[in-house]
Symmetry: D2
Subunit: 152 residues, 4 copies
């Protein structure tokens, strides 16, 4: 089946991301992703700044949430969710802010240090173009398999 | 002094919010704010949705961050920060997702249950138009007074 | 059935708590509990202090975890877990430290602001004998029903 | 000066840990520590268990808090705190529970991925004797320098 072919799935997911309205609204670029890993990039613009002229904390949180989701999409666990028409739900999201970003762009990398059957834990780090850490993020994800029969 | 007059400060902050680029990008409306409390509203649009058609978790995080900041702006603690040219920094932001939002708008209310000299703790709750809780949020804020002499 | 009788269940749970080894090790007293609420008390002793002579942060975390569990035990959701031989799992625990405690005792109150079918969110506050807030706590709890047939 | 000699400081801190009442109450062993890193060990005993016979979540939180503190004690930042009679305060502590521990012992390792001037972020992982991850932990630490003159 097409969906089992990792290259085709990767290509479909990339095209989906390129057209995705929220990515276009904010300017998020999907740089790279594979099972359990994703890297995105977000150039700073005036309408993504807080009142101090730095990238807004909520926008950094959004970038982390987006990147963590992208790191989940190609895992085997998510493949099972897709096949059984189950769901993947963010239970929470946390961001620790280390340094502000005043210009250039933010790069976010997400990994999945714990992929459980029901609960997975994802981590993320956001860095500046100069590779300075700007924020750490983490998210707890609930995996619910659906009732649809698995494909043969 | 003008900045000490709460009504004028309130008016200035409201005008600032109405012109604020990120608020306009996302469509955030500032409904009400006073020292230690703020309420905002965000209508759901297609470009604020995740791949399941629900309001994106990062956008909910952004709404929480915005509302918590607004709840801090009229506190006496923030007035001291402003006078001494100090700074208010979000140390972290956390969101717990309870229910998805598929239509209508999200309302966010923020309060400040602990206003310390150096660390403050803010809480937020996001609800649907039907008053169903969608998310809980909290943030730790670091207050740093500046070196500028306090006005007489 | 005996387990359905709230008074008998309450009595059994109280006796269990009084004999519970960890409660005895630390000196935790169960003051009051009902569905969705619990209050405990912990006198400060030298072997519960950190190097600065204050109640240790880990001990405060333990008191919060204990009290949150106690607030879950009499809920209908937990009754279903018990009947079906399912499980209640802490996904996480978070503590925000506001003030140190140097003498007297800590009182902890826990509530359950969101009781979902799969995920519940609990909150706690720890105060001094003088009613000063010492810490805020929260925990995410995963509810898994078992396969045992429900009793008639 | 003696306090500047890392070997003597290490020896003093180890002796302090071995006599420390809370370590003795719970049975915490300090295995290894150096600037920015610490490893501890805690054998499971009946009075450290929850009602399901697993190591109590609060005890795991306590082990994480202890180990993170130990990883801070030999950093240069903490040396400055000590010299100026300042303070090191845990702003928060978070634990994510991955698996229960039913026998043997828990090993905790802490690192400090971000050592800022005012805020530091520490991480920890707890594993079983078989090296299975049991919990992830993190803590935000506020550094406040004191007014005492720095030694020459």
């Amino acid at each position: 089946m097409a969906e089992h072919d990792p290259e085709r799935l990767h290509q479909k997911l990339r095209e989906f991301a390129e057209r995705f309205p929220l990515f276009r609204l904010l300017g998020v670029e999907l740089v790279e992703f594979r099972p359990g890993y994703a890297r995105t990039l977000l150039p700073l613009r005036d309408d993504l700044k807080n009142a101090n002229g730095m990238m807004h904390g909520g926008i950094i949180a959004t970038l982390i949430d987006i990147t963590i989701t992208q790191a989940m999409l190609m895992t085997d666990e998510y493949q099972r969710v897709r096949e059984t028409r189950g769901s993947l739900t963010s239970v929470d999201l946390r961001v620790k802010y280390l340094r502000p970003l005043s210009s250039g762009h933010a790069v976010c990398e997400a990994t999945i240090p714990h992929l459980g059957k029901r609960i997975s834990h994802a981590n993320a780090v956001v860095k500046s173009a100069e590779d300075k850490p700007l924020a750490f993020g983490d998210s707890t994800i609930l995996i619910t398999l659906g009732d649809a029969p698995a494909p043969k």
